[in-house]
Amino acid sequence: MTMVHSLTINQLIEKLRGGQLTSRQIMEACLNRIDSVDDKLNAFISYDVEDALAQADFADKARSEGQEGALLGVPVAIKDVIAVKNHPLNCASKILGNYESPYDATVIKKLREAGAIIFGRVNMDEFAMGSSTENSAFGPSRNPWDIDYTPGGSSGGSAVAVSADECIASLGSDTGGSIRQPAALCGCVGLKPTYGRVSRYGLVAFASSLDQIGSFTKDVKDAAIMLQVIAGADEKDSTSVPEPVPDYTVALSGELKGMRIGLPREYQVDGLDTEVKAATESAVAKLEELGAEVKEISLPHTEYAIATYYIIATAEASANLARFEGVRYGARIDGEDPEEMNCRTRGAGFGDEVKRRIILGTYVLSSGYYDAYYLRAQKVRTLIRQDFLQAFEHVDLIATPTTPTPAFKIGEKAKDPLEMYLSDIFTISCNLAGLCGVSLPCGFSEKGLPIGLQLLGRPFGESDLLRAANIYQEATDWHTKRPDLD
């Protein structure tokens, strides 16, 4: 029997409309699920039961008065890097102390307008820096398919909460794969919209030229519903683009015939796991069988993407995180003068990975090294972007594995930052080039760990991306599998 908390947004809305379910029942089902599984998984940093149930009752009342909304009465969990008024916001760090947001992020405002229940703070790597959710001041999250494994990161809690049916959908952020990689490793759908498609007002900045908010959902239809709600230009975010927002749900229907899908030659890397290779190859074969035209393409600067990313992202992070200095918000460790207070506060408040990245970013921007590192990386970024724009003259989408391997064990890569960085090889270029991308379930390893297929689309090409993903999903059942947590 399918339980209420494992239904999709699409299914729930139908049942809510038909009066077979109330929003309160859905919220209670999610809360019960969290009670029974989250001790093991640690997806949630915090949640407010009373507030969640009050929002659910409010949604039920609104519906009984004839109101409608794309997400009316649907619980959505929020990554701990997005501001929700009067809710805690920690970025999974100690440095923010008892911070509570004085305002709503634009995506939260839009979710509220669509009727969603804004529910809980989900775990992440501190300041979204990491690929395993091990760098959290609130302890690591665990993969629901095997709790000895990481869920990926940085939006690990967002992926776990959806895959383990602790909520119906969630928001995350993606700077170099932080939505797509955990979605792949946990077996749900993770959508990173194009840079500029969704307002970032109220998202705590990590790397401003790369960060993007996106969703985790149980299927592609739900990803389209979520994007429809959160997309659009916002006068509070000058990097949001006034490109018209198409009807993504309508864009889902159609066929794959005539769609050209490119396979990058350079993505046949040494560390590519044989099971991941086999699963993604059969997913591509399925797409071909469904009518797509598959051809090989070349992205010649692929091998430089990780180095480029870790210069640009750390440089931007070192500037963005300068604001955490113990004056305006969060924790403070006192000192004799402001500088000593800053240094002590930051030394005690940030974890290892955040310190590493701020120091690296400081180095690549420092006098005498700027041209050799930062400026050079910006130039290589141009080459990487050109690779993609040229490829998209010949194909409509690009298909790749989301990650080179299935989930890795907790602690396995924690002592070797460079090895952790190298696992981001397939997701990073999308952010550097400003594309959109989605990860969807396409199989399992012999150990029973999920494998993800990544599709990349042109800037503002979410309609094609979601249509191809949805057609694949209608012909397969990987996305319907759930971990056994009892």
Binding site: G97, E100, P102, Y103, Y195, G196, S208, S238, T239, V241, E303, Y304, I306, A307, T308, Y310, I311, A322, G326, V327, R328, Y329, G330, R332, E336, D337, P338, E339, E340, M341, N342, C343, R346, G347, A348, D352, K355, R356, I359, L360, T362, Y363, A372, Y373, L375, R376, A377, Q378, K379, V380, R381, T382, L383, R385, P417, L418, Y421, L432, G434, P459
Partner: protein, 92 residues
Amino acid sequence: MEIDISRLVKLARIELKPEEELRLAPQLGEVLGYVDKLKELNVDDVEPTAHASPLSNVLRKDELADSLCRDDVLRNAPESSNGLFVVPKIVE
């Protein structure tokens, strides 16, 4: 690759314990060694990319609008007084 970590932590305003310096310095050296890979490419005639957005010079009208309430903002400060943030003494 060797880096002068004590200079960098001053620039970054992060106080590290001696054991942290010992742990982080070789890790940073390893990452810097890896990113040196970019020196293989000739980028003399390539324009830098700062971001991938199609926009430039985004302007809006200079109009009065509501801002956050001061008390709401100061509520999160470690120390405040008379509507101001308090920091340790700067001038003797």
